[in-house]
Symmetry: C2
Subunit: 243 residues, 2 copies
Amino acid sequence: MMTVRQDVHSAGIPVLCQSCEARHRGVCGALDSDQLVGLAKTSSRHKIEPGVELIGDAETVDSYSNVLSGVVKLTKSLSDGRQQIVGLQFAPDFLGRPFKAESAINAEAATNVSLCSFPKTAIERMMKESPELEHRLLRQTLNELDEAREWMVTLGRKTASEKVASFLLMIARNIDPTADPAARSATFDLPLTRADIADFLGLTIETVSRQLTRLRTEGVIRIDNNRHVTVDSLARLEQRSGA
Amino acid sequence: MMTVRQDVHSAGIPVLCQSCEARHRGVCGALDSDQLVGLAKTSSRHKIEPGVELIGDAETVDSYSNVLSGVVKLTKSLSDGRQQIVGLQFAPDFLGRPFKAESAINAEAATNVSLCSFPKTAIERMMKESPELEHRLLRQTLNELDEAREWMVTLGRKTASEKVASFLLMIARNIDPTADPAARSATFDLPLTRADIADFLGLTIETVSRQLTRLRTEGVIRIDNNRHVTVDSLARLEQRSGA
DNA sequence: CCGATGCCTTGATTTCGGTCAAAGCCCCCA
DNA sequence: TGGGGGCTTTGACCGAAATCAAGGCATCGG
């Protein structure tokens, strides 16, 4: 039987936060136990089903969240309905756009998601008094910017098959349980439907499907149940990704 | 004859900084006069010709810069030479990637550019002691992230003609001298060659040229000398941009 | 004045990915 | 057990943008 994770500094830390990944690797790591206590009072945990929008809960209006598990997609749409996924958030990412009343971005659960949410005011007050919190946010934002720019290259300059390979590679690196970055192989469940993948890569469903089939028939990947993917050689997949 | 701009707080501010836009609207606005004096000692101004890379001067290795005038393009390349412009920096943007030894991004002058550069160490020291500086950086980074995501939509989901219209609109909003955001018309010099525009939009030179021709023959824009553009109705251009 | 060079435009043809259409598969539930 | 709905695959065809190929138009230096 497992006990709750203990560490030297857990004295006074809210029970909810003690084993929370956001405290270890996310923005809450910037806070001391007093601040955590204060924040925990106003925080609430939610579970969200795939397809549910996180309005009023995340990207917009009045609250911020940490992603505790699952995958959240950030999307933008054109007036005629064309849609583009502009980011994927994994645990323990921070969700929300500081310093702006409303962003033109929608957030939606791609899988089952669990969140830890806070009122905007609580975070913003805390940001004023804790430079370390802003520092963490800056780091996360810079990383997201790097990722966004990486995807601009993929969207603008890669072929359909390179796009799909790049996507699989990114997912493998983000959610393969064997978290070793130097792993030679990977296996994981796709957190997105074909339609989502298409919206992420600027393609159609059909093209995504055809390229997956091609990677499959050429032995680069295996797919079971439409969602479960095995990559025997990440290096081989990387070669297909255009790099 | 004009005098150097004076304001109430200019006492003790380095001469170089007094009329500097980066101090008014850029990150240097976060600094007090003592800090400016300290930073100014290690800063240097450069002028850079179009096409010159800013290695060792901006995005990489050992220094940060403010863009004082002109346009800097940030590019990423695939191993086979395909290139994508992932960002354009205008005055008074801050140039450089904090907290990372080297970024996979290249910076290159698109036009004549003037910069004010600092050693990385000086900025990083100042960031530690001035939360306000980090705050400004966070804000700029969040804005760049918003812009990058906006372009992801353009790259992934817009047609060639919508892309070109979107590009013209973005340039008009950034560098038209009549800085009124509610302006109905605009006139400006394109800071990029056709090749650069193509690399920005994920198109070929020929397609960019054809779409510009189309916008011209349809009366949406006028072009003189290949570079000088007049837009009589920004609203009309916006309709072409897919929104 | 002339030719060279670097951009840019225009035209003809090809191709990759989109569109339209039909089936297949899987899971749920009656 | 069987039917329905959602997601995915596959095939046939089409079209927007890429590619290939010429040619135009400035600017620069001889």
